[in-house]
Each structure stands twice: as C-alpha cells, then as structure tokens.
Amino acid sequence: MKVQCRTCDGIYAPTLADGTQYFHVCPPLRRLRVRNLDGTFATVAPEDVGLRKIVGERFVDRPNRRDENVRRDPVTGASVIVAEGAGTAPVDDNLIP
C-alpha cells in the first residue's frame, strides 16, 4: 500500500519490498538568491526571478514539512516521528502509473 504526503504530495510505500520501513521526508524547495535592481539581495522562487541577476542557489525546508525519521520522546521514552507535517492519505495503487 502506498500513501501520499499531504504536505508535498509525494507518493511512497511506508514498507519497502524488503520489509524494511521507509521514512519519508518532504523535499526542500529550491530558491534563488538574486540581486535586485537597487543593489540589494533577495531570496525568491525560481518563477519570481524576472530580470534580476541570479547570484546563488538555496534549498530551504518546505513549510510544515513531514519528516518520518524517528526520535525518542524525552518524556515517554517512546519513538515518535520528527515532524507530522499535514499527515498522509492512502493511495489506490490502481491509480498510480
């Protein structure tokens, strides 16, 4: 069974073919560092660059990202995932190419 991350819309199988667990983490967002016309700098999405000169590239965490890696809860001692994000939804395998 596969699931879809409600934060990034990525689709994955929580259990891999070899039986091991898969720990999904949302991909970062690509951002570009640009020089504005007034000489200042800004970090913008690639589609917002316009005529500004690109001076660098950055990958930033997606807002409300999901990170299924485990950490130990300091209170209960139980294993919990790092960040829930917006959760997941099951995906019908028949609808996946």
């Binding site: 991350c5 990034c8 819309d9 990525g10 689709i11 994955y12 199988a13 891999l16 073919a17 070899d18 039986g19 091991t20 667990q21 898969y22 720990f23 999904h24 983490v25 949302c26 991909p27 970062p28 690509r30 690639p46 589609e47 590239e57 990958f59 990170d67 890696n69 485990v70 950490r71 130990r72 294993s79 996946i96």
Partner: protein, 276 residues
C-alpha cells in the same frame, strides 16, 4: 583443554581466569539496533554456579525495526559465565541490519551501570556473535547490507530528495530516476546533490540537456563516464566514497526545472550500516 563440565569439578578461581562473574547485583543487558523485520534474538550460554553446577541460560530479545535502541536485562543466576552467544532465531537479518551488544551491568532496573562488554557486533540467522570468540566490533566496520531502496515519487515541480534514515549510514552506489518534462521550452539538467541536511557537500553533473515534452532516464553510478545515450538515456559518474550518516540527503538539483516537470520515484542502490 577442559570442557565446562570438567571445569565444574575444579575450584572456580583456578578454572575460570577469564570468566565473567555475575553476582546478585549484576545482570546481562542486551541492546540492539535493527532495521530488518520480524527479528527475534536468542541469547544463550552456560554459567558455573557457586555450588559447582553448570547451568544453561536462554532468553529472548525482540529488537525494534526502526533502528532505535531496544534494551532488555536478564539475571541468569549467580556464577561465572562460561560462554554466551546471540543469534537471530527468527527473521533473516543480513550483516548491517541487526547490531547487538551484550553487557554485564551493575543493578537491574533504574540506575544501572555497564561494567563489561561481553560481545558486540552484527548477528544474522546464519551466524552468531559469541563469547569467547567473536571480536567486539563497531557497527560501521566491515561490509554493510546491500539494499535497493525505492524513494518517494515527488509531485510535479518538486525535486527528488531522499534522506538517510536516523541511525543509519549509507554509501550510495547508484541511483536511477526518470524525468518527464512539460511543454515549457527550457534546457533542464537534473544534477545530483549530496548535502548534510542543510549545506551541500558534493554535486555530480549531468552534461546534456533535457528539452521540453519528453521522458528522460538518468542513471548515476560508479565507473561510467558522463554521457548521453540513445533514447534519452543519460549516464553520469558517481563517486561512491561518500559515507552519508543519518540526516544527510541525496537529492536532485535541477537547472531550469519547470513547474510541470515530473520526476518518478528514484531507485537507489546503497550499502547500509547501523550507526548510532
């Protein structure tokens, strides 16, 4: 050489210079970090009690399957441990998947302190870790398990990004993925980037462009020259010497990626170890 039964006829200090004494305040602690499914460990051995009897002890330990630490303690009775071994009695963990440590501890519950390591290393269903006999081995020493990992199929416009799981160490051997480009006219180059979760540490470059409205296949691997083949297949060189601890990322960094461009789920070939 005397066997344990014969040793029982001897006075303990003379017979057991190398044995581990377990007193009433001591116990055996099993700690494991494991990624394989369905694994149960059997810990067994013999102990020479103060009255000269040789008794067997057997207990079970169930590791977690998410590489987090699982710990259990057992009191095998008072006396000198003559031998001990740990083997996977259920499941089929491969070397690199189930790391175990057997210690002698002071105390049983609450505040305990380790006073000796009996054995430490990977165990499988086909090979045990034994004391005496097995070396005390670090988890990243020797070969790891070879795994084929299917990653996340990202949404359109998103990059591929795979994170090394917590308490794992990966060595990336190969990665293959497809890119379906949208109708926007642009020359894309899905380069492969390795980062520490924030900062890029290495990048492998594709040397040919992916144009609009087609499907392209990429394979980063060792021992190939970066080149474009027929049918939109691209090879790119991958340096396999990079050891990537938990939290490092393997991701694409695509020049001119368009909003409708769509990567497929990547398939990674990795060598994996437990790394706490």
């Amino acid at each position: 050489m005397t066997n344990p039964e014969q040793r029982a006829d001897l006075s303990a200090p003379a017979a057991l210079a190398g044995a581990l004494y377990i007193g009433p305040d001591n116990a055996l602690r099993v700690s494991s970090l494991n990624s394989a499914t369905g694994v149960r460990l059997t810990v067994a051995g013999k102990i020479l009690t103060a009255d000269g009897a040789v008794r067997s002890f057997v207990f079970e330990h169930v590791p977690n399957t998410d590489r987090t630490l699982a710990t259990t303690s057992h009191q095998p009775g008072c006396g000198w441990i003559l031998n001990a071994h740990v083997v996977a009695s259920s499941g089929t963990p491969r070397r690199g998947q189930c790391f175990v440590r057997l210690q002698v501890i002071q105390g049983f519950t609450g505040a305990t302190i380790s006073i000796g390591t009996v054995l430490q290393g990977y165990v499988q269903d086909t090979s045990a870790r034994a004391w005496p006999g097995s070396p005390i081995e670090a988890s990243t020493r020797g070969p790891g398990v070879i795994r084929s990992v299917t990653g996340t199929d990202p949404a359109a416009g998103a990059e591929i990004s795979e994170t090394v799981p917590t308490n794992a160490r990966w060595r990336l051997l190969a990665i293959r993925f497809t890119l379906v480009t949208d109708a926007n006219v642009a020359n894309r180059r899905p380069n492969l980037s390795l980062d520490d979760g924030t900062t890029e540490v290495a990048r492998s470059l594709i040397t040919a462009d992916a144009t609009a409205g087609a499907t392209f296949h990429y394979s980063y691997q060792m021992g190939v020259q970066s080149q474009a083949g027929s049918g939109n297949y691209f090879n790119a060189h991958l340096c396999a010497q990079h050891a990537l601890p938990g939290g490092f990322r393997i991701r694409t960094a695509t020049t001119n990626l368009q909003v409708g461009d769509n990567f497929g789920a990547p398939q990674l070939l990795v060598e994996e170890w437990i790394e706490d």
